[in-house]
Symmetry: C2
Subunit: 242 residues, 2 copies
DNA sequence: CGAGCCGTTGAGGGGATTCAAGCTCAGTGG
DNA sequence: CCACTGAGCTTGAATCCCCTCAACGGCTCG
């Protein structure tokens, strides 16, 4: 027989026992909570088990929960305009996934189980409750972090995928987001383009020249360039069908 | 003459005026603060201007501040074991950079000005003060976010850089982090390896076979494999010198 | 004016893709 | 029981894209 009094056994929700015994608890999100804290939250947390290749969540759907990985691997997938999907990250035991949900944002990737997967599902409202953020600074901070994460992941799926010409076009499109009033963009040195797109500076140079001949770009003195946005869009379009 | 009483003009710190007039204020980290709030913090915030190609901070140094970008572009660089550096992200106007500092962690990348750059330097202690986090949940959350960001950026610099063989070795090393007790790893399908490393499934297959012949891997039934860690380390080492 | 950085362009070779065929193996139904 | 099927993996041959090595021109700066 267990040493725990019988009324305690009955009183405690089965999930509370699971949480108290959880192997990843100390490294997990709520590791800082004590047993009493666990008692308050356990009823809202659900333990899930998923088979390999089943989705945890889909990109774009409204996120209502985050998940802690208790065992197994998860991969994050994105597909670009050309239609080919790219795996941009994996997460494993102890990692927290789907954090976009805390910002009431749609999930940024499709998350799929690699192996058999054991998860704890934590509703957004529960985290809100515990954070009790009257002051909105943490939220602002989290927003920044998520934006950085999103930028890093789309760097993989857009700028590190496919043939060199397409990667350069994607880069130009991204630089265009920071263009000034006259549609002038900052154009990196050729070796910097190489470091961004994983190509040699010669290849970068050839492609930039090609863009110039096609009228997408016009080089200006001082590391800047005039961009013809419609031409860029047309070129990108052409890359994406086929 | 201004409508502001002269004593107010003198009373207000010059930085407070700069903050109040800031063009990116509404989209910036402290956008939620009102004028009174600004009055409390302005003395600690410094406006900086950097020339192109000057570093904002270095990878690995202890972070004491975060920065808001008021104008210009910043690139984040990493160099891998082979010595070639890769740009893994860029940030622009309104973005917050160096958030690792809030967790008292070293900066994860080298941040360098692309263009002329205008920044606001915000000390970590100031953010702490405003967040007043006795409760450590926000910190835990931020930690998770930073881990995800770090994983995404090293995905670029490790798994999306260099020749196919090296990329696969890097992937194996990463999968080895999630190995079970007997050093068995989850081995993705060939097309999944392709989606991770941006190569065709045929190339992935050829390389996996090559690893098998070299004794780095032993294929096991059910999408798993036995890994010879020393052999893997040797193979990676060999890739990295030359 | 020579040195050095940056960019451009060419020639040749190599690594990855493309297209294709054949293999193993699990599941299915005659 | 076994042909049949389809998914996943492997391997070959030809092609092509990109890298490597190289030479050269414009430009700034000491």
């Amino acid at each position: 027989m267990s040493a725990i009094p019988i009324y305690r056994l009955e009183e405690r929700h089965p999930q509370a026992q699971a949480c108290a015994a959880c192997e990843v608890r100390s490294s997990a999100l709520f590791g800082v909570l004590d047993d009493a804290g666990l008692d308050r939250i356990h009823t809202q947390i659900a333990a899930l088990t998923l088979a390999p290749d089943t989705p945890v969540y889909d990109r774009g759907t409204a996120g209502l929960a985050v998940y802690t990985i208790r065992s197994g691997l998860v991969r994050f997938e994105r597909s670009n305009a050309r239609g080919d999907r790219r795996i941009v990250r994996i997460a494993g035991r102890g990692d927290l996934i789907g954090q976009e949900a805390l910002l009431q944002r749609p999930y940024a990737d499709e998350a799929v189980a690699c192996t058999e997967l054991q998860l704890c599902r934590i509703p957004r409202t529960l985290v809100d409750q515990l954070a009790q953020g009257r002051d909105s600074l943490p939220r602002e901070l989290m927003l920044r972090w998520q934006q950085a994460l999103d930028a890093a992941e789309s760097w993989v799926s857009d700028l590190s995928t496919g043939p060199a010409r397409r990667r350069l076009l994607q880069l130009l499109q991204r630089l265009a987001l920071h263009a000034d009033a006259a549609d002038q963009i900052w154009l990196p040195r050729r070796d910097e383009i190489g470091a961004m797109l994983d190509m040699t500076l010669e290849t970068a140079s050839r492609l930039v020249s090609q863009m110039r001949r096609e009228g997408v770009l016009e080089l200006l003195p001082g590391r800047s360039a005039q961009l013809d946005r419609p031409a860029l869009q047309r070129a990108l379009q052409q890359e994406d069908d086929t």
